[in-house]
Symmetry: C2
Subunit: 118 residues, 2 copies
């Protein structure tokens, strides 16, 4: 059910290679890979899960409210992370020329569906 939502997001986003639902502890609940990605989405999630704690701490220090979304662009990989609650996040990986805006939009509108099932 999670996988279907992830697949829907990945297949509707130009240049998206994979989607992932993961805990902040780096343990994945479900994932979907389009098959043409150069990166292991679970490894990406594990690396970025460490960063999310830092982002939350920074937001807390600044009194900027709860962190909701992080997008990281590197030479060969773009990643959008949507924080769902205190325990879980959803992430989408894209090729550098992928549609980052669409990935962000779909993660936002699909977040309630994922939360309903968590």
């Amino acid at each position: 059910m999670f996988r279907e939502i992830l697949q829907d997001i990945v297949e509707s986003t130009e240049g998206s290679t994979a989607g992932l639902l993961m805990g902040f502890d780096g343990i994945a609940i479900d994932q979907y890979s389009a098959g043409d990605g150069a990166f292991d989405v679970e490894a990406v999630g594990m690396e970025y899960s460490v960063l999310l704690k830092g982002v939350q701490q920074a937001a807390e220090m600044l009194d900027a409210g709860t962190a909701s979304e992080i997008a990281v662009r590197t030479e060969r990989l773009t990643t959008v992370v949507r924080l769902l609650n205190d325990e879980y996040f959803a992430a989408v990986t894209l090729q550098p020329d992928g549609n980052l805006g669409k990935a962000r939009f779909l993660l936002r509108v699909k977040a309630p569906d994922i939360l309903d099932n968590l």
Copy 2:
């Protein structure tokens, strides 16, 4: 000169509150505030500068190439960070409904101007 570039970016971006040029060590070179921001842009830069090292380490671990850009959205603050080189980054803060896409675009096209002067 840096301040003029930062001002240009902030004033051309709807909902942008401040721009900052800072070293990864958290020491600011220059900044520009539109005056209506609820956040101290230097404090934002200092908090996020810590994260940037984590982003670079994650990118390295994943062999994803150099990190170029990070966008973080929290309840009351949106921040776009553009990594300029191994030492410096530029950041723009926006209100939550600010034009994130324009901030990213302007940071990208103005980066060479900033680098020329560093």
